[in-house]
Symmetry: C2
DNA sequence: TTGTACGCGTTATCAG
DNA sequence: CTGATAACGCGTACAA
């Protein structure tokens, strides 16, 4: 049919076929440039025939902007991260940006950032809570906007859009107190994260307001496996806790599994469980998991807005946005007594 | 400390500082090029001082290769897709490639492929099972390697690395028959996918070999919500099925939830459930889900090998790789009688 | 409105 | 082994 096009058509080819200059072709494919309708028509016609589309790489070199946003993501086995990545990608794409994905490997973190930057991404978004601060900082030094979707300990000089971890922990503690629990345990996440620190603080303050302290605590490292061990520890206490708050849903599912499967406990009658993130799997378990978490769509929307704005304006001020969280009561907690 | 570098250093800057030519700088940063140790040392020194790293965009333009691989992914809420994306990214990065992620939106599928191609990716990998065939075909027309990690109906002209769906369905059917089930139901996935077609065929053939037919069937569309409805339908039959095979894990979790939560059934005593994919959540439920699925690492490895090889050699022959599946018996099926 | 000429930052080629 | 010079494909003053 068409001739075997070993090499793609360039703007020069289109120009020749349309009988115009290369500039005319360029302008036709540039938003808001002066081209007569007649010229534009001829160019588009020729472009269609040659199956031409502008080379974004060359365009980037000339415009000194790539229209690419770098996303640093990891732990995609955690549904909340996967969901965030997908939503972010959709939103960015809808705004005309492309995405360069970077999945850092714990071994060679440092090699990757330079590589990401070498692709001249216009901005960087990161969703990893345990990043070394010097990585995003390296990106910042190049003058690119960097937005973190997790607070990173000691990285206050970076833009961030995070959720109200303190409020979330507080809400969980309050719910458990108000539904009559007295021995409330906590399965924490990695202690080097602001997420864990703030959720824990919120929990403690809520319990204190009800005259309680955390009954017991174990570190689940944000992983399912870690939380299985942690749950076994906590449930070996005597008397057992009557409620567990977990710093994420993955760990709460582990607590559910262990308490029912290994200890034969009834949930929520013997043990109430509250997770964090309000991720999809919290709806998939039985009983379905009570969980507190942010409006993900809102977080993504704020982040993308911020990034796009900073790219456009070059605004270099540091901003911190915090989105509120919402408690979603499902089946792993008792119903609140009607006031 | 360092002077505010509004604009990044270029190779010319390094060359000037090192007292050499731009070519020398280029060669220093090019694998296996002739540079004297002395020159290299001077260049690296200057580069370090200026915090220089080569501009990959400019390099791409000149080399006519970007080192970028496009990945088309979607449905990241499905853990198996998220896991695959992460593993693929890691593997590709380890091989020196960067990743351009594309999350197609059902509305404007067609706009995205050209955009992906405009970034001159060296190859395209797709994990979406319901892609329109003309999209990957468009990529193929540009001469780039395209590898699909799902068989797409009617796309035999595209390279593929897929798992043995027929064998998986067959294994599930066989297991259920051998553990004494007689009323085996099937919750299918989207009927426009090869995945669903082959898993179903495998199931039917396995049952037939035991003198059975599928007791009942409902379409769960590969989604959790769809499967909840499907499960309700199936369990409303009288007599009820005594086993359900689901075309993915998400749907199996829904079956588990509904059968226990809404119908008060015991699993696996009243009802056996088998999922597909052997994804992470299959280990998180209680009882843990019996599931059949491929070795994901193997699939990723084969895919990346194929892509890298085809990029390097320009080999345009079409290949189909099929990786075997493995049945992982957990707690939602009875133990096999000891032979 | 159109075309010319130059620049974007790098690599490949080819003399030295 | 090194350095000048020409691509790579496109955007954009500038002059027409």
């Amino acid at each position: 049919m068409t001739k075997k096009q070993q090499t793609a058509a360039r703007s020069a080819d289109v120009a020749r076929l349309a009988g115009v200059s290369r500039s005319a072709v360029s302008r036709t494919f540039t938003e808001g440039a002066y081209v007569s309708d007649e010229t534009r028509r001829k160019v588009l016609e020729a472009a269609r025939m040659l199956n031409y589309s502008p080379n974004a790489i060359a365009r980037s070199l000339s415009k000194r902007a790539t229209g690419l946003v770098g996303i640093i993501a990891a732990d995609l086995y955690n549904p909340v991260h996967a969901q965030m990545l997908e939503a972010m990608s959709r939103s960015l794409q809808a705004r005309g940006f492309g995405i360069v994905l970077l999945v850092p490997d714990t071994s060679n973190f440092d090699e990757f950032i330079p590589r990401l930057l070498s692709y001249q991404v216009d901005a960087v978004i990161t969703t990893v809570a345990t990043l070394d601060t010097h990585l995003p900082l390296a990106a910042v030094q190049t003058g690119r906007p960097v937005v973190m979707m997790q607070q990173i300990l000691g990285a206050n000089v970076l833009n961030s859009v995070s959720s109200d971890d303190y409020g979330g922990g507080h809400a969980a503690g309050t719910l458990l107190c108000e539904t009559g629990h007295r021995r409330i345990a906590y399965i924490s996440g990695r202690s080097d994260t602001a997420n864990n620190r703030d959720r824990e603080r919120g929990l403690r303050d809520a319990l204190a307001a009800h005259g309680l302290a955390v009954y017991a605590q174990a570190n689940g490292l944000f992983t399912h496996e870690g939380a299985m061990t942690a749950t076994r520890q906590l449930l070996s206490l005597s008397p057992r806790p009557d409620a567990i708050f977990c710093a994420n849903d993955l760990m709460a599912l582990a607590a559910l599994q262990v308490s029912r499967g290994e200890f034969g406990m009834a949930v929520p009658d013997d043990l109430a469980i509250v997770g964090y993130d309000n991720s999809a799997p919290s709806m998939w378990s039985w009983p379905a998991l009570t969980s507190v978490g942010p409006d993900m769509a809102e977080m993504v929307s704020l982040t993308v807005d911020m990034v796009v704005r900073k790219i456009a304006t070059g605004d270099a001020t540091v901003e911190h946005q915090v989105v509120p969280v919402r408690m979603v009561e499902r089946q792993t907690t008792r119903e609140r007594p009607t006031a």
